[in-house]
Amino acid sequence: ADTIKVGFNIPLTGDIPKVGESSKFAAEILKGEINAAGGLKVGDKTYQLEFIYEDNESKAESATATALKLITQDGVLAIIGPQSSKQAIPAGQVCNDNKTPMISPWSTNPKTTENRPYVFRACFLDPFQGPVAAKFVTEEFKAKKAAVLYDIASDYPKGLAEFFKDAFEKIHGPGSVVAFETFTTKDKDFSAQLTKIVASGADVLFTPQYYDEVPLIVKQAQELGWKKPIMGSDSWGSAELMKLCGDACKGYCFSTHYAAAGAKGATKEFIDKYNTKYGYVPDDVAALTWDAINLLFTAVKNTGGLSGNLDKDRDAIKDKLTQVKDFEGITGKMTFAPGGNPTKCAVVVKISDKGEFEFFKSACP
Amino acid sequence: MSLLEIRDLTHFFGGLRAVYNLNLTLEGGELLGLIGPNGAGKTTVFNLVCGFYRPTEGEIQLLGKNIAGLRPHKVTALGIARTFQNIRLWNTLTVFDNLCISQHYLLGYGLVKSVLRTPSFRASEAKVRRTASELLELLGLNHYAKEYPKNLPYGLQRRLEIGRALSIHPKLLLLDEPAAGMNPGEVEQLIDLIRWIRTEFKLTIWLIEHHMRVVMSVCDHIKVLDFGETIADGTPDQVKQNRRVIQAYLGEEEPSYA
């Protein structure tokens, strides 16, 4: 039978192996389903799916090598990933140069898709999420002064922290972010920064960190006497958060792509399938990867049939991707404009007393 | 002008006085012996002269120029070479290389020329190699040119160390216990070697040795240290008879080293 090869450029080792694992798991489910149903029907032909997972070790140079290998050695039709911007930016260049469509499910840095017709993403951008969070804390918590704690060496939190600061200071005036504190990747102790933050008199703490750092930050903050709200970002959105954080995180809010608790329809179906197979509620990376793959397949189907010539097919897919309108993803509705970035809504989720991520509010551009 | 002049040289290690008030004038061509009980401070004197320690007090002049406090490679370049009490050859470099590298200060080229291999580089490299080959020949080490020093018999290692010091073209050669670990046969060879070097290279030699056979047969003059201080000074025969030297150093018995 004919096959469609899709490459996955994901971090299975290195700093964020969980991200790679989630992506792989989501992809496996989707592949299993489609192949079990006979394959992907494109035009009048059905194709079996072959997914090639390659580890980029969470390193930029490895991500480019991986991308090139997938493109030239394995001859994939398109690439999903890399997930974080540090890898997605250079890998995007490679894919663009080699005229191969790439969809990063999770990279929120504007540079990833800038001037790269072949590069797409399935998530919203930092410049969108930052203001959402700033507006939310202003409205919800009546915050006038905010503190921020973020990882300076990781570009996702750093970017988001800066966009948040800009947006917050636009609303409340310069200097309203009273503490803008940093640490470095893999730090475990934030007591010095938090001592400053506690003493700064801020009304809210914004910390756009990954789910595995959040418990440490939250617990240490509480121990040092922080009693006010803490606001997070989409990187909080992992099922593991509650496992690691326990009661400490309950009641806090974060902006994200989708809310698992109380989800309906396709989203709920996905969550249940994933949960049954792997034993935990999928995080946003999994959901976004799922969407990214489906986006790709939508474009593939829209080509109306594959020619078998890789270069032509890749080009066609790229063209179709830019035309995707009102794609119903499990993380929300997406429409692509030229530039490779989707227009989609963000949601704010509140962590309930049961530890579930409950839909609280949605914010659309 | 005398070759080496040491005035009121004193050195402390913390509270330990290793050398005290040493005075000495060494004329060109002389062969001076330095003896004394273990821990008397002999090696320390050498270390001071070659610049390895900076003296606590005192002056060291080479041909009228004060050298105390200069870095060792500078002192060596001025013409003082030495051997070590415990052999310190470069063991992962060949015997031949050992004799070349010691001429470092003579090279007169640097990184750039060494890469570009300019004519001046070739000339100086050739000169260095010539010196090394000559020394190999003279010391009878030809067969060992490509050997690593640690694989050489002990006596030959000592010989190589002397050769390495000679490759520097020194005015003054310091030998620290060259006969240690040698058997009587080798000691005889060493005595011949020292005498031969002295005439062949027209060197001034300063020698530390516990082997009385060597000291008494080659030295013109002997200085005896004890607890860092000079306790005797004179010709071999004078020193041999000196009561204090016998008490502190030689012992009453018939000398076991013939």
């Binding site: - | 290690f13 330990l16 003896i35 004394g36 009980p37 273990n38 821990g39 008397a40 090696t43 009490q85 415990n86 018999p153 002990y154 006596g155 030959l156 216990e177 240690a180 670990g181 040698m182 058997n183 009587p184 046969g185 080798e186 000691v187 005889e188 516990h210 009385m212 056979r213 502190a248 150093y249 030689l250 012992g251 018995e253 000398p255 076991s256 080293y257 013939a258």
Partner: protein, 246 residues
Amino acid sequence: MEKKNRPMLEVRNLHVRYGSITALRGISFHVNDGEVVALLGANGAGKSTTLMSIMRLPPPEGPTVSEGGITYNGIDLLPVPAHVLVAKFGIGLVPEGRHIFGNLSVLENLKLASYARTDKENLDADYERVFSLFPRLKDRRNQRGDTLSGGEQQMLAMGRAFMSGVRFILLDEPSMGLAPLLMQELFRVLKQLNEAGMTILVVEQNARIALKYAHRAYVLEAGNIVMEGSAEALRNDPKIQRAYLG
């Protein structure tokens, strides 16, 4: 001096290699209880190798025995590791090059030597003996080993051997770097020890003094024993006189 005739250490047909280099080519000799035996030979003849093989120092520091046997009072020594030889058999080695623990003080060096001793009651007397033998060490007892002068280190190495309470001691060039007076002292001490029951196998370049104090001697050349006999006989042998007595 009365000589005891029970062979204590027996070396039979010993072949020893360093990697592919053969250092000993089948040597046999013995040391009787209570004897002082000297091992003479030129540089590189294999004297140190002989002592190291007896001590079973493992590679890379030590050589490998490829053939032959070593017994001590009839017990095969080949399978016994060095530390057991010291602790259980009472065989000690003062190695060539002293091997002082430079980062320990003189006193600590001595203390460490008594690590495996069981007769703690004689310890104080032994310290006294070492210090009276080498008063210099007493002055320097809190100084780090690596700052001692060459001769002082040699004294310390000997001192350690005494402190480890061994009955059979192997000495590798103990006189190296010692001032004449001290060397005479040292051999006098060795004689005393021997009279008190210590068996000694000594490697020495200074054949004159070695033959003066030893009972018997062996001469090694290029990994073979080429001559053996009583010290007196060797002292008078013209060949020895020429090669080793200068």
